[in-house]
Amino acid sequence: MEKLLRIYLTVLILFIYLPIFSLTVFSFNSGGLTFPFKELSLEWYVKLLQSPKLMEAVYRSLKLALVTMILTTVLSFMTAYALRERFRGRLFIFYLFILGIVIPGITYGLGTALFYQTLGIKKSLWAALPVHVIWTLPFGILIMLAGFDPKIQTYEAAAKTLGGNNWAIFREILLPLLFPTILGTALFAFTLSYNESERGIFLLGTDNTIPAEILAQLSARATPELYALGTLSTVFSILLLGLTGWLVLRKS
């Protein structure tokens, strides 16, 4: 039985990671996407850096992810802070925020595009910002809520009775105690936004982000530069998510 489980686990891991592995391997193959493997080279990475279309898309994605990250972090802190209190409609509001996770992305993106059209809002990189924030916010709120330990409320109460006003309590108690959670939220929001495609794709117009650009190029043909880019993005995302996990879980 145990042996069977081991085999199952091995197959499962291979199934998840083999595609990424093959992508990585072929990104270093001078023969490109053809088998057999010719020789190791950084050719495609150089090509990638020389491709203005791809590099511009990377730059746009980073910009959008950065702004999304800041907005999401601030908003999820504020939401989680408020959701700790008992008030009428608390659960309703909570679920309303969390809805962003369950709505199919493509539907949401399309709906927003139509909505923009009605309002006469032009497609651009920043037109995708609200959609990105709505996508990342529920995750941010959930991480923040997990970080708001009930003990923190007692610390806040203690600080109040010692003469601390709200700003002092934020600065001296909440910020230092929640710092790992806040940073974790920020990094997770960044990663989610950087990788987001389906929600934003109808809103970007000609300002392709990197996932959008990859989709556009893939519909013509898969080039090895994309493999190089895929490898870089994967490594970058894993690093960020690893850091997030470490920051959030370190306390417990």
Binding site: T154, A157, A158, A159, K160, T161, G163, G164, A168
Partner: protein, 370 residues
């Protein structure tokens, strides 16, 4: 006439359908030690939090130092609070914790350092000032919590079961220290506790609460010797509660039927009517046994069930013919009753030791005390 430091006026707190605090009023004199006492869930902590401004009352008013604080936020009320689980800031050292309130008051650094040093010496932990809370024992953490609240010199110090999580010996030791601090600092203390002996040891004034209402308030001796309800008598623990029925009156006495014979209580300003069912409360230490019992006005016979030697005192449990148990407390050096478990023993107490409880809130013997 002493000045009133805290006035609580018609205070009510409701949560949805539950009334946690039900229209209570009391006054705490300046410089006094007031204990809010009662079983868990009686609303005592709610009252404390409302005084602190951490909870909003549904109705009623709070005055601190003559000022109506309804619209005053916690950080501008001249109070500080010691929490049950200490609530020390885990990311700050002992010194930084204690300094916090002074920094909030924008005090200069030199004066701050001096005050922190002084208060740490008062509570006896100056050598721990660079440590973090996680590196301290429970007793040390409690001292830091006290120092942190005392250093800001509040008009009123609120303490929410501050010894609840410590072991018994440390509790007793810190009780004495808190009492000494109160005497030396001349501050007003409002202390929440469910522990009767703690309240007796420390309080100038006890406010005994039950189910959101005040059952009785007064000095510890008043509460102990003149309980005014079945709940209070039950809460005291060492008081026997005997259900009786009023039979009639003679001279200065009320004649009561205890089911196993007649007993007597002094007549009241407002006597119960014949036939009424009431309770008789008798302190365990007021009851005499054997030969001493024979000279008392109240005499019954019990069977000795149990004898527990406790060092300075002995606790006897006796049973009346109707299965009602009677607890008797005797100094162990006053001569022991021969240990004849199962044999009949005369029981007696003086007329003035009979406390008649006219309007019991419930007929059951209240056990949800300590």
């Amino acid at each position: 006439m002493a000045q009133s430091e805290v006035i609580v006026q018609n205070l009510t707190k409701k949560y949805d359908s539950v009334t946690a605090v039900d229209n209570i009023s009391f006054t705490v004199e300046k410089g006094s030690f007031c204990v809010l006492l009662g079983p868990s869930g009686c609303g005592k902590t709610t009252v404390l939090k409302i005084i602190a401004g951490l909870l909003e009352p549904t109705e009623g008013a709070i005055f601190i130092h003559g000022e109506d604080v309804r619209e005053v936020p916690t950080y501008r009320r001249n109070i500080s609070m010691v929490f049950q689980d200490f609530a020390l800031f885990p990311h700050k050292t002992v010194e930084e914790n204690v300094e916090f309130g002074l920094r909030m008051r924008k005090m200069g650094e030199a004066e701050r350092k001096r005050k922190v040093q002084a208060i740490l010496e008062v509570v006896g932990i100056s050598e721990l000032r660079k440590r973090y809370p996680a590196q301290l024992s429970g007793g040390q953490q409690q001292r830091v919590a006290l120092a942190r609240s005392l250093v800001v010199e509040p008009a009123v110090l609120l303490l929410d079961e501050p010894l609840g999580s410590l072991d018994y010996r440390l509790q007793k030791q810190l009780e004495v220290e808190i009492k000494r601090l109160h005497r030396e600092l001349k501050m007003t203390f409002i202390y929440v506790s469910h522990d009767l002996s703690q309240a007796f040891a420390m309080a100038d004034q006890i406010i005994l609460m039950n189910r959101g209402r005040i059952e009785q308030m007064g000095k510890p001796e008043e509460i102990y010797y003149r309980p005014r309800s079945v709940f209070v008598a039950g809460f005291l623990g060492d008081v026997n509660l005997i259900p009786v029925q009023v039979k009639g009156f003679d001279r200065n006495r009320i004649i009561l039927d205890a089911g196993v014979g007649d007993v007597y209580a002094p007549q009241q300003e407002e006597n119960p009517s014949p036939g009424e069912e009431v309770f008789l409360a008798v302190h365990a230490e007021s009851i005499s046994l054997e030969r001493e019992a024979e000279v008392c006005e109240n005499r019954l016979e019990g069977m000795l069930l149990e004898e527990i030697f406790q060092g300075s005192q002995i606790i006897y449990t006796l049973q009346l013919k109707n299965k009602q148990e009677i607890k008797v407390l005797k100094q162990s050096n006053s001569g022991r009753v021969p240990g004849r478990i199962g044999s009949p023993v005369p029981i007696g107490w003086k007329l003035e030791d009979s406390i008649l409880l006219l309007a019991p809130h419930s007929k059951r013997r209240v056990k949800d005390g300590i």
